[in-house]
């Protein structure tokens, strides 16, 4: 495993936020680790951890409708904070 999944940090965050239902979202290259992530997080916290089955193209790609499913926390791996471009910054020379 070449990448640090920071599961201790995630467990701590889940407990701090008292998240009971956690959804994890992984890009294709990390999906193979979803089992070990769920197993470890459920063991270290009292939370139920479910896996987002769909795509994870980037931090722009947060699944919608999770609030309706009573998800308390979404954890997405492989990306960091995304700063949505304003229109003036979308392309070259446009106003």
């Amino acid at each position: 495993m070449n990448y640090d999944l920071e599961l201790d940090k995630v467990s701590k965050y889940v407990k701090e936020k008292e998240a009971k239902l956690v959804c994890i979202q992984l890009p294709d290259g990390l999906k193979q680790y979803s089992k070990s992530i769920v197993d470890e997080l459920e063991e270290k916290t009292n939370s139920k951890v479910i896996i987002w089955l769909g795509e994870c193209f980037g931090a722009c790609d947060i699944p919608l409708g999770l609030d309706q499913m009573k998800i308390d926390l979404l954890v997405q791996w492989g990306h960091n904070l995304f700063h949505k471009a304003e229109w003036s910054k979308l392309g070259d020379g446009l106003e």
């Binding site: 926390l73 791996w77 492989g78 392309g91 020379g93």
Partner: protein, 250 residues
């Protein structure tokens, strides 16, 4: 709902190799813009230190593109020149160096140069620390994608009916840009489509659309569009179609 993002940082050392240093020397590259994917961005200080040891005269520049969170980080969607925030330094730099694996991110630097001719183009060197391998992207690597873009832009200008696509993804959602498209093409009929994910299959039933204009992920209008049976152009290029056409040197 709270959201936590985890970088999944590369947890081994990044060691540049002689192949890279020799290549820089052979090509007399002295001013280099350094980028990495989020997995490798925390290693850029180490990379800079290695450059100082190799040749203190090489100038390494790091910048923060529009959508990224960390300096030196590159996203696949920062593929228009002004997204890179290089400002007036373009003519001063010799090449880009990307640290990471895969082609997805460095191809953004290729597409960002679509309007550069061979003389203006800056080579994109890619050093993969996992495979300990150097490769590069050159002006000619843009050819297939840009020929398709050229064809799609010509089709747009000749079209009667446009399908404008917006998505509801939080990082995209540019529905309001349809107004700009209408201002630009007042004599074309524009149908507006909204979705949460775009694949070619969902577009195929709408055979009355001549050309699709995309306001979601901008990669759809480049490397994805190359393989589509339908014609798709990013909104940014659609709004300045004539100008882009005059600059595409392919």
């Amino acid at each position: 709902m709270k959201v936590l993002t985890i970088d999944a940082s590369y947890n081994k050392e990044v060691n540049l190799n002689d192949e890279l240093f020799n290549y820089l020397k052979q090509n007399n590259y002295k001013k280099i813009v350094l980028f990495a994917s989020v997995q490798f961005v925390n290693h850029l200080d180490s990379v800079k230190t290695q450059f100082k040891t190799f040749d203190n005269n090489i100038k390494i520049i790091t910048i923060k593109p529009s959508r990224t969170h960390k300096e030196g980080q590159l996203l696949g969607c920062d593929l228009y020149e002004n997204n890179l925030n290089l400002n007036n330094e373009w003519n001063e730099i010799d090449c880009f160096l990307y640290i990471g694996d895969g082609l997805f991110h460095p191809k953004a630097l290729l597409f960002a140069q679509k309007e550069k001719d061979k003389n203006e183009f800056k080579e994109i060197l890619m050093f993969d620390p996992i495979a300990n391998k150097l490769s590069s992207l050159k002006h000619e690597d843009n050819e297939k994608v840009m020929k398709r873009l050229k064809g799609n832009l010509m089709k747009l200008l000749a079209s009667d009916t446009i399908g404008f696509i917006a998505t509801i993804k939080p990082g995209q959602s540019f529905l309001y840009l349809e107004k700009k498209l209408k201002e630009k093409y007042p004599n074309k009929k524009i149908y507006v489509f909204l979705t949460d994910n775009i694949t070619e299959n969902i577009l195929e039933p709408y055979t009355f659309i001549d050309v699709w204009v995309n306001s979601a992920c901008p990669r759809l209008g480049f490397d994805d569009a190359e393989h589509m049976r339908v014609s798709m152009i990013n909104i940014v290029d659609a709004l300045r179609a004539e100008e882009v056409l005059t600059k595409l040197d392919f």
